[in-house]
Assembly symmetry: C2
Homo-oligomer: 108 residues x 2
DNA sequence: ATGCTACCTGAACTTTTAGGTCAATATGCG
DNA sequence: CGCATATTGACCTAAAAGTTCAGGTAGCAT
């Protein structure tokens, strides 16, 4: 799932037009279009500020949106900062190990 | 340990003056001073680019510096992006659970 | 067909803000 | 003192974030 897709799904779910969303976000329609289609001219995603407001306007999960936009939520950054070694270890694991880890966590 | 402190320690260890460091980093002395004292006008830390170069010039651990600067290293971001749910779960654990997790990982 | 409404897109433009510089000022010290 | 080193605040500037505008598509009701 891409960031833009997700925005569109949220918007459509709430039966809003791009214009509606643009209005409540205080940005231009063409910007919304570009966001949804991933056409922001330097490749990436909108600003964190935009995402923050978006989440609040759409009552969506901000962290999920941030992650889709390849940004690390502040809450997670805090944790990483508290335990850098743990997170570094985990980040260096291979797929198998991560699967195993996830399984063991999920089952508790 | 703060980011700026760490920079100062590294610099002093290598018997460099702020001017030396500024020169080899290609920035002004005053900027170095602000970095070390955490006085960067806009509150936070220098850019990732700066940190990257700093690590290489000082032969220091880039990830450590990034983490001190509240930035998530690209390698870790990639992992997080691949497994957002796993990392969210872990980030939401309390201290005890994290301790347990770390222990189980370390011992294998 | 015409005329809506909604949406897409690229290029060029403006605004805001992150990332610095510069010049003056302190501080330590032989 | 006199020099090297370090600190600060006011300013500057490049790049990010977003706008505007012009033109184009597609569907659908009249």
């Amino acid at each position: 799932m891409q960031f833009g897709e997700r925005v569109r799904v949220l918007r459509v779910q709430q039966a809003m037009t791009q214009q509606d969303l643009a209005d409540c976000m205080g940005v231009s329609v063409s910007y919304i279009s570009k966001v949804e289609n991933g056409k922001l001219h330097f490749g990436d995603y909108p600003s964190e500020k935009f995402i923050h407001k978006l989440a609040s306007e759409m009552k969506a999960d901000e962290d999920e949106l941030l992650l889709l936009a390849d940004k690390v939520p502040a809450s997670m950054r805090r944790r990483i900062r508290q335990r850098p070694d743990l997170f570094r270890r985990i980040a260096r694991m291979d797929k198998q190990a991560l699967d195993a880890l996830e399984a063991s966590i999920v089952k508790g």
